[in-house]
C-alpha cells in the first residue's frame, strides 16, 4: 500500500531483548497439566526453545488462546498471555494487535476452537491480514470435552457423540485458510521439533496473519491419528517436505514427485516423469491457486501430506494501514484544543 509498509519487517516496531535469552526464561511457574504423552508438550518445548531465537523483549510477546487443551498453552509461557473464551481468540488478538504494533501477538487454538465455534473469526482475521501468528493444534478431536469428533475428524468417526459414525465431511484447514485469502499458510507436526521450529520461524517473520496447522497427537482420545506421518515405516512415503526453491519430491530417494495432473497437482513416480515437469516449490506464488492445489494433495488417508510453508506472500497488513490512517489524521494541536474545536463544530450560538 505504501513505502512505509513495504519497508517494515515483522519486528521493526517491537522492542528487542536487551540480553541473551534461554528456553528457561520462557517457562512460567505454572505446572503443565496436559495428559502424559500429549503432543502439546512437544509443541510447548519447541516454542520455548524457539522464542529466545526471536530476540524480542519477552514482555512484548503475548499469547492469546481460546478454550481447549491446546488453549492452555499461554499459561506455560512466561510472556503476557490471555486464555480467553471458546473460539474468540482471533477477535481478541485482532484488537490487541491492531492497537499495539509493538507487540508480537500469537494465537493458540485447536481444531474445535478455531474451525468449529471460531471459524468466522479465523477466516476474517486471515482476510484482513492482521499481524497475528495463528497456531492451530489439530488433533482431529475435541480433547478438553473428552472426545467428540471435530470439524477435522474423518467421516464415519466413532465418538461419544457419533455412535454410528460422524456424518460431516471435514474441513481441510489449509484449503479453508487459502480460500479465506490467507497470506501465509503452513503445516507442521508435533513430533518433528526441527521442522516445527523452522515453520514457527517463518511464521514469526511473516508480516501479517500467519496460519500454521500443527498436527498434534491426542493420545487419550485420538491416539495415532498422524502415525502414518510419524511412523518410520510409512512417513517417507506419506510426508511431502516443501522447501522453497526445491523440486517437490517424496519417498525414499525422492521416488515420487509432485507434478501437474488434471487441473491441479498430483503425485507421480519420479522415474516416469520429465524432471522439468516436477514442480519446484515457490511459496511466494501470488496466485492462490498454487497453494490451494498443494493443499489438496493429501488423500483422506493422509498420504501425500505436504508440510512446510505452502504460501507466503506480501500484502499490506490490516494494522499497518489502520496505523497509517491514524498517522495521516493526526495533528500536532493539543488534544484538549482539538476537542473544544470538535464540540464547537457545526452550527453553534451563544446565549449571553
Amino acid at each position: 500500500m505504501s513505502e512505509t509498509v513495504a519497508a517494515r519487517t515483522a519486528f521493526d516496531l517491537i522492542p528487542k531483548a536487551t540480553g541473551p535469552q534461554a528456553a528457561k526464561d520462557f517457562k512460567s511457574d505454572q505446572e503443565v497439566r496436559w495428559c502424559p504423552g500429549c503432543g502439546d508438550y512437544a509443541i510447548l518445548a519447541a516454542m520455548q526453545g524457539f522464542l529466545p531465537e526471536l530476540g524480542l523483549a519477552r514482555e512484548n510477546i503475548c499469547f492469546v488462546s481460546g478454550i481447549g487443551c491446546s488453549s492452555r498453552f499461554p499459561y506455560y509461557l512466561n510472556t503476557y498471555g490471555m486464555h480467553s473464551i471458546h473460539g474468540r481468540a482471533p477477535a481478541i488478538a485482532t484488537g490487541l494487535a491492531a492497537s499495539r504494533p509493538d507487540l508480537s501477538v500469537w494465537v493458540v487454538t485447536g481444531d474445535g476452537d478455531a474451525l468449529s465455534i471460531g471459524g468466522n473469526h479465523l477466516i476474517h482475521a486471515l482476510r484482513r491480514n492482521v499481524n497475528l501468528k495463528i497456531l492451530l493444534f489439530n488433533n482431529r478431536i475435541y480433547g478438553l470435552t473428552k472426545g467428540q469428533y471435530s470439524p477435522t475428524s474423518e467421516v464415519g468417526k466413532l465418538t461419544k457423540s457419533t455412535p454410528m459414525g460422524s456424518v460431516d465431511y471435514p474441513f481441510n484447514p489449509l484449503s479453508l485458510a487459502i480460500g479465506a485469502e490467507a497470506s501465509f499458510v503452513a503445516r507442521t507436526i508435533d513430533s518433528d521439533r526441527k521442522h516445527l521450529t523452522s515453520v514457527l520461524r517463518a511464521a514469526a517473520e511473516h508480516e501479517g496473519s500467519a496460519f500454521v496447522e500443527i498436527y498434534q497427537n491426542c493420545n487419550i482420545f485420538n491416539d495415532g491419528a498422524f502415525d502414518v506421518l510419524k511412523d518410520p515405516e510409512s512417513r517417507d512415503e506419506a510426508l511431502i517436505r516443501l522447501e522453497h526453491g526445491s523440486p517437490i519430491t517424496l519417498g525414499k530417494d525422492g521416488q515420487w514427485a509432485v507434478v501437474r495432473t488434471g487441473w491441479g497437482l498430483g503425485v507421480a513416480e519420479t522415474a516416469s516423469v520429465d524432471p522439468a515437469d516436477i514442480v519446484v516449490h515457490d511459496e511466494t506464488v501470488e496466485d492462490a491457486s498454487y497453494a490451494f492445489a498443494l493443499s489438496r494433495l493429501p488423500g483422506l488417508d493422509l498420504r501425500n501430506t505436504p508440510i512446510g510453508v505452502l504460501r507466503n506472500v506480501k500484502r499490506p497488513t490490516y494494522d499497518s494501514i489502520v496505523r497509517e490512517q491514524l498517522e495521516t489524521a493526526a495533528t500536532s494541536a493539543p488534544k484538549e484544543e482539538e476537542l473544544a474545536r470538535l464540540l464547537n463544530s457545526g452550527d453553534t450560538w451563544t446565549i449571553l
Partner: protein, 625 residues
C-alpha cells in the same frame, strides 16, 4: 399558545411554544428539512427538542404509509423537555403523510398540505376513497392547501434545472414558507445548501431559489394572514449547539479518550439505531480513535477487550440483539476485570422487533443477562445531550474500576436532538489512571512480586498491567482465579470469595446521591424514572405543578450500583410511580431491593411517552395518595 398581535402588514402573533411536524415520503427529504428548521430555530435561541421518525425500509415504495418519514420539532421561549406530545402544525407532502399523521393532531391544529400530490391514484393508494378536503375529515383543523410541487417547479423555471431536480426542491420551498411563517432566518440554511452542493452549483442555486420562493409565497399569499414569533428562551449563558444523542455519545467517548489520555478503540458491528456512533467515531482518528468494523458483535466486543488489555479504552456499541450476542464475552471481561464500555442503544424487541422504534426493555439484560454471577456497572443517559455526560461517566467507571460498564441509550435519544450548552473542556472530569509498572506485593520471604489480582483497597480494582511492561508478565483468563495471585484456583472458598468480591467491586463504585426535584417541598408522590423518559416525566411533573399539585421527580443515571440514598428517598414518599417503556423492569429491581410497593406505569409502543399521558397518570396517583 398565547396570542399577541403586532401592527405590521401581516400581523405577528407571539407564541410561547410550537410543535411542528414535517411529514413526507422517504424520498422527500423530511429529515433534512427538519434538521435545517431546527438549526434556524436553535440560532434564534429557542429551547427545542426533536423527534425524527423513519420507516424501517430504506426506501419503501413511494406514496405508501410505510414509506412515510417524519420529523417533529418542539420549540419554545422557555426551557422544554420533550419534542411535544402532538403537533400544532403538520406539513404533509403527500396523501400518505397526511393519512399517517392526521390521527396525532389535536383539534384546532394547522395542516399544510402539498395539494399537488393529492391526485386520485395517490389518494387511493393509502385508502382515501374521497379527497379528505372534500369530506369533513379535516373539519377540526385549519387546512392550507398549497401547491408546493408546482409552485416550486414554476419558481425554478428561469434556472436550468432538470424537472426532476426542480420537483425535489419542494421540501426547500416548504422550508422557506414555514420559516417565514415562524419568523426564522434562512441565512444559515442557504449557507448550508451552498456548502453541501458546492460541487453541483446548479442544484445549490435551485434549492436556494426554492427557499426564497417559499418565503416570498408566505409574504404574498392571502392564505396566511398572520405570522408567528417565538421569543428566545432564557437559557443559561454559554455556547450552544443542537445535538443528537448518538453524536453526543460519540463525542463523550472522544472526550473520555482525551481526558483519560488513552487511545480509544471502538469495536462495532453496524446495527440500527447504534450505527451512527460507529460512523461518528470513525471520523475522529485525529484523536487516536481506532474504529474496527468487526465481522459480528462478538468479534466487536472481543477486539475491544483485546484493546483494553493492551491499554486502550475499549468500547463496543450496539443495540439489543448485539448485546445478547456479546453476553459471553462481557462475562469474560467481568472475569478479567478490565475496562470495557458496552453501549446499548435500545430498540423495540424482542428479536428483530421494530428496529427503528424506541424502547427501554434492555435493563434486564444489562443487569442480569449473563451466565453465572457476573455483575457489571450500568449507566443510562436521560436526554440527547446527556448522552455526552453519560458516556464520560461510563468511561470513568470502566477505567477507574476496571470493569465492564453497560451504557444504555435508546432510539429516541439516539436520533432526537436538543440544544446543548457546550462544556468547558477543563471542567470535564479527569479520567487519568496509572498503569501498573512494578511489583505490588511482598512475599513472606521478602521477594517483591507482581500480583495481577491484588486489589486497590478502596476501589477493589486490580492493577492494569499492559503487555510491554517488563517484569509484569502474567496470564489471565476466564477460569476462576485466586484472589491476589490470579493463578487458576479450584478452591471452593476462594470461588465464594471471588464471586462476592466481584459483586462488592460493583457496589464499591462511587456514584453521586440521587437528587430529587420537589419545588414545593411538600410532595407526597415521587415520579422516578431512568433513561429517555426524563423529558416526558419532567414535562408531566411541571404541568401538574402548574396546575397546583405537588409532585417530586427523580431520575436514575446509575442503575448498577444504585445511589446510596435511593432507599431513603423511596421511603420518604407515600407513593412512588415508575413509568417505563417496558413491562416494569426498574420497578422489579426497586421492589426486590427496597421492598417498596412502587407503582409501575408502562407503555410499550415503540414511542416515547407523551407528557399529557403521564400527567394524567401522575394526577391520578397524587389524587389518591
Amino acid at each position: 399558545m398565547s396570542d399577541v398581535s403586532s401592527p405590521e402588514a401581516k400581523p405577528i402573533r407571539q407564541l410561547d411554544h410550537v410543535v411542528i411536524r414535517f411529514a413526507g415520503d422517504s424520498g422527500d427529504g423530511m429529515q433534512l428539512t427538519g434538521d435545517r428548521f431546527t438549526s434556524e430555530t436553535a440560532q434564534l435561541g429557542n429551547d427545542l427538542s426533536t423527534l425524527p421518525n423513519f420507516p424501517a425500509e430504506i426506501r419503501a415504495p413511494a406514496g405508501t404509509l410505510p414509506g412515510v418519514s417524519s420529523f417533529q420539532l418542539h420549540f419554545a421561549d422557555h426551557d422544554i423537555l420533550t419534542p411535544g406530545d402532538a403537533p400544532d402544525v403538520l406539513v404533509a407532502m403527500n396523501p400518505a403523510a397526511l393519512k399517517a399523521n392526521v390521527g396525532d393532531l389535536p383539534g384546532g391544529a394547522t395542516v399544510i398540505v402539498n395539494v399537488d400530490e393529492f391526485n386520485k391514484r395517490a389518494m387511493a393508494k393509502v385508502g382515501y376513497a374521497t379527497s379528505p378536503f372534500e369530506d369533513d375529515s379535516l373539519s377540526g383543523f385549519t387546512v392550507h392547501q398549497v401547491p408546493l410541487t408546482s409552485m416550486t417547479v414554476e419558481s425554478l423555471a428561469e434556472y436550468e434545472v432538470p424537472k426532476r431536480d426542480a420537483v425535489r426542491a419542494k421540501n426547500m420551498f416548504a422550508l422557506g414558507l414555514i420559516s417565514w411563517l415562524y419568523s426564522r432566518p434562512v441565512e444559515s440554511t442557504i449557507a448550508f445548501i451552498e456548502r453541501k452542493f458546492a460541487a453541483r452549483p446548479e442544484i445549490a442555486t435551485a434549492n436556494v431559489a426554492a427557499i426564497k420562493a417559499g418565503w416570498a409565497y408566505g409574504e404574498t399569499t392571502e392564505g396566511f394572514a398572520v405570522r408567528y414569533e417565538v421569543k428566545p428562551a432564557t437559557l443559561p449563558a454559554g455556547n450552544y449547539r443542537n445535538i443528537t444523542g448518538n453524536t453526543a455519545l460519540a463525542y463523550g467517548i472522544v472526550a473520555a479518550g482525551v481526558r483519560s489520555e488513552l487511545p480509544v478503540f471502538l469495536g462495532a458491528y453496524p446495527i440500527t439505531p447504534a450505527s451512527d456512533i460507529l460512523h461518528e467515531l470513525s471520523r475522529h482518528k485525529k484523536f487516536g480513535v481506532t474504529t474496527f468494523q468487526a465481522e459480528d458483535e462478538i468479534a466487536a466486543v472481543g477486539a475491544a477487550i483485546g484493546a483494553s488489555y493492551g491499554g486502550a479504552l475499549g468500547v463496543t456499541s450496539t443495540s439489543g440483539p448485539g448485546v445478547a450476542l456479546k453476553s459471553e464475552a462481557i462475562s469474560l471481561a467481568v472475569a478479567l476485570e478490565l475496562p470495557l464500555v458496552v453501549v446499548d442503544v435500545q430498540r423495540a424487541g424482542p428479536s428483530t422487533g421494530l428496529p427503528t422504534k424506541t424502547e427501554q426493555a434492555d435493563l434486564n439484560i444489562a443487569l442480569f443477562g449473563r451466565h453465572g454471577e457476573a455483575p457489571v456497572a450500568v449507566v443510562a443517559a436521560s436526554s440527547p445531550s446527556d448522552c455526552f455526560h453519560a458516556a464520560l461517566e461510563a468511561c470513568r467507571i470502566a477505567v477507574q474500576y476496571r470493569t465492564p460498564v453497560i451504557l444504555l441509550s435508546d432510539g429516541y435519544l439516539a436520533n432526537g436532538s436538543e440544544p446543548w450548552k457546550l462544556p468547558e473542556i477543563d471542567e470535564l472530569p479527569d479520567l487519568r489512571v496509572a498503569f501498573a509498572d512494578g511489583p505490588n506485593h511482598t512475599l513472606d520471604n521478602g521477594e517483591e512480586v507482581f500480583w495481577p489480582y491484588k486489589r486497590d483497597p478502596q476501589t477493589l480494582a486490580r492493577p492494569w498491567a499492559v503487555p510491554g511492561t517488563a517484569g509484569l508478565e502474567h496470564r489471565i483468563g476466564g477460569l476462576e482465579k485466586r484472589d491476589g495471585t490470579g493463578d487458576i484456583s479450584y478452591d471452593p472458598a476462594n470461588h465464594d470469595l471471588m464471586v462476592r468480591t466481584r459483586a462488592a467491586r460493583i457496589e464499591a463504585i462511587e456514584v453521586p446521591d440521587l437528587e430529587v426535584e420537589d419545588p414545593t417541598g411538600d410532595a407526597r408522590v415521587l415520579a422516578l424514572g431512568w433513561g429517555s423518559t426524563y423529558g416526558p416525566i419532567g414535562a408531566a411533573c411541571r404541568k401538574l405543578r402548574a396546575a397546583g399539585q405537588s409532585i417530586a421527580q427523580a431520575h436514575l443515571r446509575h442503575l448498577s450500583p444504585m445511589p446510596a440514598n435511593l432507599g431513603k428517598v423511596l421511603a420518604s414518599y407515600d407513593k412512588v410511580i415508575v413509568p417505563e417503556m417496558n413491562l416494569g423492569q426498574l420497578s422489579t429491581v426497586l421492589r426486590a431491593r427496597f421492598l417498596v410497593d412502587v407503582i409501575g406505569y408502562q407503555q410499550v409502543r415503540g414511542l416515547p411517552f407523551t407528557s399529557t399521558e403521564l400527567e394524567s397518570v401522575f394526577e391520578e396517583v397524587v389524587k389518591n395518595v
